[in-house]
Structure formats: C-alpha cells, structure tokens
Assembly symmetry: C2
Homo-oligomer: 236 residues x 2
C-alpha cells in the first residue's frame, strides 16, 4: 500500500468509527496535510481516492464532506475485493461442488481472451452468508495466470490467494447484470423453490496489465442479496 492509500484507509476508518453522517464536514486540506505530515499532492491523491470510492464528496470553494453510509449488508458492485469486505460483519462460507481443469467453451474462451485448446480451472461453489445461501458461482480461471488451485484454496477467498499467494495485481472488471428465473439446478443449489426470481451476473476480472483471468457466472439468492453502487460526478 502506498502512502496516499494508507492515509485514505485511515480516514475511511475514522469516518466509520465515528459514525460521521452525510454532509459532515472534514478538516480543510491544510489541516489534513499537517495531521498526516504529508505534501499537498499526497493528500489530494488520498482525497481523490476516497471520492472515487464514494466515501466523501468535495465541493469547490466549500470543503470536503462525508457521503452517507452504505446500507448494512449490501454488497458493493464496484468493489473488486469480493464479498468479504462488504459483508465483514457476517459469516461467509463456501461449499465446493466442483473443481477441475478443463478446456473452455467458446463463450469462456472469448471472455478470457484465450484459445479453445488452452486450460482453465473450473470452480463451482455455493456461497453462504450466516449459513444461508447467498449465491451459486461458476468461475473459469485462465490456468496460465492462475497456475494452481485446490479444494482448500477455493473453499476460502480465491481473490486473497490470487493476490497474496500468487502475487498478482487485480485491475479493472466488467460486470453484466439482469434478473431472471431460477432453473432446477440453480434452485436446488440455493435451496429455493423452482421458478423463483434470480439476480444473475457475469463478471470478467482483469490484471492491471489488462489480461482477463477470471470469468464468473453468479446466480444470487434474491432473498439474501442486496447491492449498492455509489457513482460520482465524473460520470456526468
């Protein structure tokens, strides 16, 4: 973690611990520079990061303000850290249904930007939050990047392993979402009646160098999953 990221993390923690509310004003730039003993450019980078993450908003000529807290138990659709961060007060577990090495389908090869004769790790697991089903996840990892997986790894956080175990740097992601109706297998895995609604997502995660390494299809239990997105004014 770079200095500006550390400071951003400290400020975020402070806001959370002191339960600051939307509109609460933070100290001015100069005060923050003194407090953290860093240059203006470092503090500016920290604040930009917090703004991108939806923690604060900056009003020109007026100051730096807190954004409303996330709703508890909602999963961020912008986080690349997996569920762990959003659901940190909940117990997350996984049941591994399948784990093997296989050849990709055309769809998987396209999304991972690999050839049909390349190898992928296939992982199918059900994830639980406080013992209740959260989602059914089918993931395909480019084996030339994610070179090794076993049952122990995939029953924990695969992303922690990829970052810490394999030392890979996770970059940007694409997520596609729609609602639909559970099929029989999905309903069985999630413990819901056949024909229940579902929230269905496909995501592609890339390394910082742009290579896609993970294509996942996720079917959520609609009763146990809620999501949030905090967008900022850059998207205008």
């Amino acid at each position: 973690m770079l200095k500006y990221q550390q400071i951003a993390a400290e400020m975020e923690k402070y806001i959370e611990e002191h339960e600051l509310q939307q509109g609460d004003k933070l100290p001015v730039l100069e005060a923050l520079m003194t407090q953290f003993e860093v240059s203006k450019s470092t503090i500016t980078k920290s604040l930009d990061l917090l703004e991108k993450k939806g923690v604060i908003y900056q009003v020109r000529g007026s100051g730096i303000f807190v954004r409303r807290h996330k709703r508890k138990g909602y999963i961020s659709l912008l986080s690349n850290q997996g569920f762990k961060k959003d659901l940190e007060n909940f117990t997350l577990t996984s049941k591994v249904i399948e784990l093997d090495v296989r050849k990709p389908t055309e769809e998987v090869a396209y999304n991972l930007n690999i050839e049909l004769e390349d190898d992928v790790y296939y992982v199918k697991r059900v994830r639980f939050v406080n013992g209740q089903t959260l989602c059914l996840e089918e993931s395909y990892f480019n084996k030339s990047i994610v070179t090794y997986l076993n049952r122990e790894i995939v029953s924990e956080s695969i992303f922690s392993y990829i970052m810490e175990g394999l030392g890979l740097k996770i970059g940007f992601s694409d997520l596609f979402l729609n609602a639909g109706i559970l099929n029989e297998d999905e309903a069985k895995c999630l413990g819901l009646p056949n024909g229940s609604p579902k929230l269905y997502g496909e995501s592609i995660f890339h390394l910082t160098n742009g290579q896609p390494f993970d294509f996942s299809k996720i079917t959520y239990n609609y009763e146990n999953s809620q999501f949030f997105i905090q967008a900022n004014s850059h998207f205008i």
Copy 2:
C-alpha cells in the same frame, strides 16, 4: 464542457467509430499532446476521465489501451445521465401516470434530507424502449430545488430539463438494487404476469453541492432490461 472533457469525448467517439477492440493500443502521451495541441496535464486529465468511465486502461511503462466495448442494449449503472445515452439506438418513450405536488413520507423525507412539511413533486411513469415496457418509475423531487415540472417535461427526459432548463449541476448518486417479485400494480403497469421476477432499484441523486434532489424507486421489466458496470482498479 471543459477542454479535457471535449478531448475525452473526441477520443471516445474515435474508439467507437473505428470499432477498436479491447487491448488495442492508443498513441503515446506525446503523440496525443501534439495531435490535440494541448499540455501534458490536459491530456492526462482526459485519459484519467476515460479510465474512470471504463473506456481505456493505462499500464505503467507499457501504454494506453482500449477496454472492451459495452454490450449493446445494456444500461450503465454508473451513468448519471439517465437511460438516453446507453439506449441511444433505441426509441425511448414515457407514459405519465401521475404528477402532483405532495408531502413526503418519512422514507422520502429521509432520503431527500427534507422535513415532512416540505413539498415534493411526485412523478409516476412507465418507460418504454422500442414500444415495450422498460420500467415503472416513481420519483420524488425536492420542490425547493426542482421548482417546476409539468406533464410535458416529465414525458421527456427530466434530467435534461433539470440540467439545461433549470441550470442545476448533477453530482454523485447512490443506487441500491435487489431482485424480487412483481406485485399486482407493478405487473399491470409493465404488462407482465403477476408474480414475475423484477429487478428493483432505489436511487438518490445529488447536486454537486451534495444536496439530494431526486429519490426514485424503479421496477424493471426483467425481460427488457440488462445492466453493466465497468469498475476500475481504483477500487482495489
């Protein structure tokens, strides 16, 4: 539009028109500076904006690359411009069901950060894409900010009117999402069988000064709505 935004828009248009693919390399910084006849700091700002919007990714020491195209017909969950931009090749229409001035419920007052005795504009409309129902939208506008609405305005893009007609600057937004089951009124408005799945969203839009002005509840026709989100590595 500022200079760096203009350049970003031009570059995005170029990428779209030339159908550049994910991984296609763009000219180096110096070449872009020469081409657009601007300073390094302006080009850097343009590139940062395009990165935030998910149009490009930058790899340190390696270059600037195109990100994969959005899937056609998918609605961005990060855009604050309403559907118009994502669905520009589709015909969007609205049917206004209700428009009145009323007192907010507690929920609405909380989300708009106003008092129970303040006034809100309430707008209920069904939106159509190519003649098919896209969503049922119930919106509450803080009347002290959005001072005037009529049937003609709300049957078009309310956001265009807010920006161009009222001259307000739209800032950040919060969006909460989940899947569920349509109730009778929703099913009727969307022309779907009772009990069909739905994607349900609540959004709060703020001005750049942090004031919330629009709280909306949107129920999507799951058959006609698909969404995408492009996240970048800042969220790691």
